[in-house]
Amino acid sequence: MGMGFSATGRFRRIRATSFLLDWPCLYPGWVITCAMVRTVPISEAPHTPVNSRVRVRGVQRASGTNRGDAGWAMTGAFRTLLIMSDHAVLLEGVTRTYGKGATEVAALRQVSVGFSRGSFTAVMGPSGSGKSTLLQCASGLDRPDSGAVRVAGRDITGLGEKDLAVLRRDQVGVVFQAFNLVPSLTAWQNVILPSRLARRRSDPARVRELLHRVGLAGREGHRPAQLSGGQQQRVAIARALLGRPEVLFADEPTGALDSRTGHEVLALLREAVDEFGQTVVMVTHDSEAAAQADSVLFLTDGRIVDVLDRPSADQIGMRLGGRR
């Protein structure tokens, strides 16, 4: 950690991890912060102390901090408003099963989790634990069998193909392990592709600045085949950031990279959170990578079994090792 982003930027980014079951458990100032976040354009207020939190229902907490430090009696409507405004993405009782009959495998079982605005969450777990499925369901790439997925408060499980496409274009950014870019388009064209698809004009200065920030100044005209794996990954991140999506999902973004390039990509994701207030959810099996996140979810057999707040790589390693 500590690469290219300020320590203060990370300070107390996670205020609390608390349960929806324990609701209401908010401190009054939070509502105000939330309102601020909603009215101030994120990019213009890079150092807004965005209060972020990950809530997990029905899970034993790993580290006990200030939970339930304020008691607010809320009406249902007010609570709904808060759910809508607080979480970039909220999963409620999501179940996803693959196959049928004897070969049926439950990838996710009744998972409920919310990802707050401006938080950086890592999702870990052994292979087959459902972490990629979680990401796919949350990003609208896959449909859960039951439960609800709310992006910016709107349930996306009932959306048709066209609306899902618009959702992925405007509200969700996804970065995969590999093959993120359209091979026939240049880096620049790849970055502006979503806005082009939406028939929106993208601001060239901002595109240039984003490409510069991800370290690709001067390579705007290169095609993916002419870029290294790390560079391709960074173009994909720039593309995701240009649209200022509600949430950026990354599925093993460093999985195909060497450790140095991987670090650069992680630093970029961290910066997006700290400076743009971007919400990031990253699936990874690398505890070093997960240590960059504000909190880490652990999945086993399709269930969230643990949450660690700002853990070190060693803590994560111990947590993973303890279960095996």
Binding site: Q136, D142, A165, F179, V182, S184, L185, L193, L197, A225
Partner: protein, 425 residues
């Protein structure tokens, strides 16, 4: 999919060559058919040329499409020789099985042709089709030899590069026009041009039509070799219009054509071939008829369309085949486009724009070639740079090509466009 396409291509080729051969042999035994022999031989030559062209194209597309597989096999320790033996063994199986099947189909096909000839009045007494060995041997040789040769050439291209270079998608760095291809293209164009120059100087009327057709064939070979350059230009130009009309989908179609004109040419080639050969054949017959004062009405007006019809059916199938193969390659890209938020309709439009530009380029090239040959033919027969043509026939031909191109592209991408977004979900 590629395997089935190659199989179908070879079966049809052998059926066409064998069937036309049988009809020609049967007709040559009848004295009263001497007058139409020229026409029959000409249509047989056209179907032979098309067969060679399409089989070679499909096979090389099939082999090159699997570059990744070959690269993977080599990276786990297969030698280039072993890989090429593997490809050749597969090609041999396809060649032999499909050729035998094609020979079996050639007999009913020849009988059908004979029936048509009787109906249109070309051979009122009928053509006694008998299964003689000659046409079968020819068809088998064409089927097996062309298949193996095409596979051999494609294998050298597929195996010649290092395994890593293949696995890394090096498509963008490949040369647009390698030297051998450029040389073949220029030589064929020069040959075709020379023939065009010679056609008006012919005195014997019976040589003119075959020479004009020969010029068309040579120009087709040249144009399909140099085609990627033309296609890149057309993609750039028409793509700009399309991208202006439809920013998202149009830009995607344009960039794919500009960066991968060789892939697109595989689909444009059969369109060009269909338009060029069918137009030359149909309108050459019409022009000679007009020059000789012959007016065909009723069933006899269908003689030329019938003779070239099966060839057109074949090339149209190969248009379907090659568009399906080239667009099928793009499944991964289409899934990616969906994950970044391309709407289903936009994807459909992207495929349509691309196929439209490709088929239009093929049509333009084919029309140009046919027009050049026919003008030369007109000069030879009437002394004027003029030729007879039928707009409905031309429009029908173009429409069939464009529609089959669109259908091939849309069907091949249907799964990627509408199916599950997750590869292993």
């Amino acid at each position: 999919m590629g395997f089935a396409a190659s199989f179908a291509a070879v079966i049809f080729a052998v059926t066409l060559v064998g069937g036309s051969g049988l009809v020609v042999v049967a007709a040559s035994a009848r004295d009263e058919l001497n007058g139409v022999m020229g026409l029959l031989v000409l249509s047989a030559v056209v179907s032979g040329f098309v067969s060679v062209f399409v089989v070679a194209g499909t096979l090389s597309l099939h082999v090159l499409r699997q570059r990744r597989t070959w690269g993977l096999l080599r990276s786990v320790g297969m030698t280039p020789r072993q890989v090429s033996r593997l490809i050749m063994a597969e090609a041999l199986v396809v060649a032999v099985l499909a050729s035998v099947a094609g020979c079996l189909l050639a007999v009913p096909y020849a009988a059908l042709m004979a029936a048509f000839m009787r109906m249109t009045g070309l051979a009122p007494a009928g053509v006694p089709v008998e299964a003689t060995t000659g046409p079968f041997v020819l068809a088998l040789v064409v089927g097996v030899a062309v298949t193996l040769l095409a596979a051999r050439v494609a294998t050298r291209k597929a195996v010649g590069v290092g395994p890593l270079e293949v696995l890394r998608d090096s498509a963008a760095q490949r040369r647009l026009l390698p030297w051998p291809r450029a040389v073949v293209g220029v030589a064929a164009l020069a040959g075709g041009g020379e023939l065009l120059f010679l056609v008006p100087q012919q005195v014997k009327a019976s040589v003119v039509a075959p020479m004009a057709l020969g010029a068309t064939m040579a120009l087709c070979v040249g144009a399909s070799a140099l085609g990627p350059v033309v296609l890149r230009g057309m993609g750039w130009l028409l793509g700009a219009v399309v991208a202006w009309l439809d920013p998202g989908a149009g830009m995607l179609a344009r960039s794919s054509l500009v960066t991968q004109p060789r892939r697109a040419m595989a689909a444009a080639s059969p369109v060009m071939l269909t338009v060029a050969l069918a137009c030359t054949f149909l309108f050459a017959v019409a022009t000679t008829d007009v020059a000789a004062g012959v007016i065909r009405t009723g069933p006899s007006a269908w003689v030329a369309p019938m003779l070239v019809g099966s060839t057109v059916v074949y090339t149209v199938i190969s248009v379907l085949n090659s568009t399906a193969m080239t667009m099928g390659e793009r499944a991964e890209e289409i899934r990616l486009l969906r994950t970044v938020g391309t709407k289903p309709r936009q994807l459909t439009r992207m495929v349509c724009w691309e196929m439209l530009i490709v088929t239009c380029t093929g049509t333009l090239l084919g029309t140009g070639i046919a027009a050049a040959s026919l003008t030369a033919l007109g000069r030879a027969t009437t002394g004027e740079p003029w030729f007879a043509y039928s707009l409905p026939q031309y429009a029908g031909l173009v429409l069939v090509c464009v529609v089959s191109g669109l259908a091939g592209g849309l069907v091949a991408t249907r799964r990627a466009r509408r199916g599950s977004l997750l590869l292993d979900g």
